[in-house]
Amino acid sequence: MARIDIRDVTKFYGKTQVVHGVDFTINDGEFVVILGPSGCGKSTLLRMIAGLEEISGGTIAIAGDVVNDREPRERGCAMVFQNYALYPHMSVAENIAYGLKVAGVPKAERLVRVQAVAKTVGLDEFLERKPGQLSGGQRQRVAMARAMIKEPKVFLFDEPLSNLDAKLRVQMRIEIRKLHQRLKATSVFVTHDQVEAMTLADRLVVMNKGVIEQIGAPKDVYDRPASVFVAAFIGAPGLNLLPATISSDGHSLALADGQLLGIETARYPALKPGPVTLGLRAEALNIRPDRQAARQGSLKAVFDFAEELGVGQHIHADIAGSPVVIHVDGRHPYSSGDRLSIGVSPRDLQLFDSMTGLRIAEVDAPVPSMTHEHLFALDALA
């Protein structure tokens, strides 16, 4: 068990910089998920922690020791790879025990430990098989067992679930979570799948283009994304983003087609008149019966199509020229071109600076809580 301190870490490949000064701490026993689109530098960061990639600048310390110049084996990390990276010519037992064999652990002890670990991941019947004779999920378990047997200070996961089919992925996700609850080892998990990230993480690190966009508990990142990038990336679907303008008195906001929405001015002390980006969660929107269309807090929309989710529907509509997704629980009999009236509460408005993309600071914001339905909706999409 160990704390990982990442201090101002940078990475260059030749002249191209892929990680720009990343700085955060992973606490002892914490499960941190690094989330970001492909090419954002998240895997590079993980590989720098593992020692598979040189650190160009800054320091990484594991349990207080700066490990920049240490070999991977001296760092006390174990890693699970995306394509499992099992040794194809060795049996499951040999694969799991290989690290111990290299470390010179006597054969008798190896056997005992392999048995024990294999049992925890449910592989005890397959110890004699070769990786080629196993299913994807079983191979994944072998990879996990291989990491576990070394009793590492830190577990590193490099997109370990992305080669599995959807159902198995959900199952393995739960197993990883349970495993972490039992072992309480510091874990770093890299993924581009935001559902995986939300469900696994104690703390979420969202990266984009080699920079950390936001660090926080999954719920906080979901409810209060720090930037337009995070807003669009987190959640299924991501936050609806519409261009808007704050009126000169600061009390209302106009969409591109002139529709007005009132805002709680007191919440945004730093708000200035001018262009902003308005963010609306699909779950914060609801479709109102037509006669209430004129009421304050309603937006006019044109129905486009509906996506069936099983637990509800995603209504795709157009508001002021921008595509918007609305989550509804029931089923709605609209057809393309129908006019809708969309209700939205002023406290669900999220405002972002249209230039920098950063969230406009709020005070005392009563955060809308994420309900169980929403989590299920996320799962259903996975």
Partner: protein
């Protein structure tokens, strides 16, 4: 794909059959010649049907030409060359693929272009080195002035000992084990091994040589079989190099060298005894043939693709 081209099919088979016959007829003639007596073999035109002298011819060839010890020599040389080639190829390709150092690709291309140079091109310098292995170093020392420096400063005359590889197994094997083909084959194989495997081994604490020994070599078994087969045949059939380097034929002569001495030669004298020569040829041909037959399955797999 369904193809219905009966005429084309027949034509293709005819072409294949012609090729096969063209390849087999000379071998058949060799066989037929080895079963007749001296007189029948030398009649024109020669008969194309086997005679009844087979056992006599083969026993005579075996006994009088001393193929037993020669074949043993050939085996030692062929196995030595094959093992050496595989070892050198595997480790040099390992260096080229898995390590990042300056001029890495230059070294690879230097190895690669030697593919285009046959042994015969470098045979004279190679012979000179084999005759006195340390001579190049002596020459370099003399040339850059180390020798004269030592002489003036310490009063020592630098004279490296003479180490000759002529008339030895080392001489027959060592100069032949560098192999561009093998290095290339191994490089291609290593490139198909996923990088994560090397990284997983690193995480497991295995150093480069441990990874090479525990993971890469076992994975390259089919590759090894293919390379081994080709190289065994190549080494067994070496003719020019042993002929040059071995003067002590009694102790170090190989089977192929011995064939050359049958006709026309010191073993059976004049006039040339072709039926005995042909019997000898077939006997010398047998070991590489058996190796190819036994290794065929692995051989094809190793050349076509990697074992999944």
């Amino acid at each position: 794909m369904v193809e219905r081209t009966p005429i084309l099919n027949i034509l293709t088979h005819l072409i294949l059959l012609t090729g096969l016959i063209m390849l087999l007829v000379p071998l058949w003639i060799v066989f037929v010649a080895s079963t007749h007596d001296f007189r029948t073999v030398n009649t024109v035109p020669m008969t194309l049907w086997p005679g009844n002298q087979m056992i006599e011819n083969y026993t005579l060839a075996w006994n009088q030409s001393g193929f037993g010890p020669k074949m043993l020599n050939s085996f030692i040389v062929a196995i030595g060359v094959t093992a050496g080639k595989i070892a050198i190829a595997a480790i040099s390709a390992f260096s080229i693929v898995y390590f990042n150092y300056r001029f890495r690709s230059l070294f690879f291309w230097l190895i690669f272009i030697t593919l285009m140079l046959p042994l015969e091109v470098r045979i004279v310098p190679t012979y000179a080195v084999a005759a006195n292995v340390l001579r190049p170093y002596q020459e370099i020392a003399d040339f850059v002035g180390i020798s004269s420096l030592l002489n003036t400063v310490a009063g020592i005359r630098l004279a490296l000992p003479e180490w000759s590889m002529l008339n030895s197994y080392t001489g027959l094997i060592l100069p032949l084990i560098a192999t561009a083909t093998g290095t290339f084959l191994y490089r291609q194989f290593y490139l198909t091994v996923p990088d994560e495997l090397a990284e997983a081994a690193k995480m497991d604490g295995a150093g480069p040589l441990r990874f090479f020994w525990d993971v890469l070599l076992p994975l390259s078994k089919t590759n090894m079989a293919a390379l081994g087969t080709i190289m065994f045949v190549y080494a067994w059939n070496q003719y020019l190099w042993p002929l040059l380097i071995v003067t002590d034929i009694t102790n170090y002569g190989t089977a192929v060298m011995q064939l050359q001495r049958i006709v026309p030669g010191p073993l059976f004298g004049e006039p040339p005894r072709w039926h005995i020569a042909m019997a000898g040829t077939l006997m010398v041909m047998t070991p590489p043939l058996l190796v190819v037959i036994f290794m065929q399955r692995w051989f094809v797999r190793g050349l076509v693709s990697t074992d999944k």
